[in-house]
Symmetry: C2
Subunit: 205 residues, 2 copies
């Protein structure tokens, strides 16, 4: 695989784990390299021996989380009963992922515009995976004749993912938020399932 030794990989993993905990609790900007090193009783300089800089460390953690997410999605989507269930799996898995790592993503909220390209690459990779898996699910269902034949399943999946993404809570005065608050995630989840329900019916004969 990689060029490093086993020992090196283990240490890398330890660093990634410590960094993840810090980022998760305090967010990117409130986490210092000193603190991560301190947690592991290492010198800060060593972190730079294993990772080129702070943002690369963050991205490495992100990549790991994304890989786990993708893995989970692939496992679960191997054995779906029908199209709707497939999308429910996607929605649920993503929901869990976001709830669990909510604070980790403060980096996104802060940097809002101009996230580094590497982050976008990861997002794109996740999206690609979702597209492939869910497009296949649509295709299978179309072949089974349960829904209308679609010439471009990807387009449909993309549209639905966008639509789901748009679901927000109706806050007191009307939806004052760009990023959803953590306490609203459950409500969003419920509404998404409703939207999915209608959307799927719309694909049927």
């Amino acid at each position: 695989m990689s060029s490093g030794s086993d020992q090196q990989d283990i240490k890398r993993e330890k660093i990634l784990e410590a960094a993840y905990q810090r980022f998760l609790h305090y967010g990117y900007s409130k986490t210092t390299m000193n603190e991560i090193a301190g947690d592991l009783s290492l010198s800060k300089a060593l972190l730079y021996y294993y990772f080129p800089d702070k943002s690369q460390l963050y991205i490495a953690v992100m990549r790991k989380l994304a890989a786990e997410y993708i893995q989970k999605l692939q496992n679960k989507l191997n054995k779906f009963e029908n199209l709707k269930e497939a999308f429910i799996v996607q929605i649920d898995t993503q929901h869990d992922f976001v709830v669990k790592n909510y604070n980790f993503f403060d980096f996104f909220r802060v940097n809002e515009q101009n996230l580094p390209d590497t982050i976008w690459d990861i997002i794109t990779e996740i999206h690609q995976t979702e597209m492939v898996l869910l497009s296949a699910a649509i295709q299978i269902e179309a072949d089974k004749g349960n829904i209308k034949p679609v010439d471009n399943p990807g387009e449909i999946v993309d549209l639905l993912l966008d639509a789901l993404h748009g679901v927000r809570v109706s806050a007191v005065s009307h939806k004052k938020v760009i990023f959803p608050q953590k306490e609203h995630l459950e409500e969003i989840h419920t509404k998404r399932l409703l939207l999915l329900d209608i959307f799927i019916k719309g694909l049927m004969y």
Copy 2:
């Protein structure tokens, strides 16, 4: 109606119009009260005779635009053929509204979080109107028996409006944008019509 004289109202209108043009071309922060006054060959002080401050002036313009938008929507939605057409009217009207006034809304992009409450009130009012009109449209269609009966039309409308709101363009790497760029509005419009199509079918038997 209001306490001011006709002359006063006319002048107020002139100021609103001049302010609108400035805000539309240069945005909120790049427009000075001096410039607006200059356009009308008035002293800046007079603007403060008619409006308490700059933000109130902006909001007054906003309110006017919103009123026009609401008016247009109500007129058009008086005579819709079927549910789908009603939503198409909403989508088209909003599309035109956003395209026409795109630069005016830079205020929103800049202030992003914490917009003044008065702005949210206007947004809420627009949303309320859309809710009332489109909920009625759903109810009528349900009564006609063209779609399944719905216990809470408002919930459905809210959900669809959210979903439509979520539709974004797939930029090069995957959708790097929070606010849509002006050049993407057409593509978004097209995708929204597709989403609408599926959603409406999902409401039918």
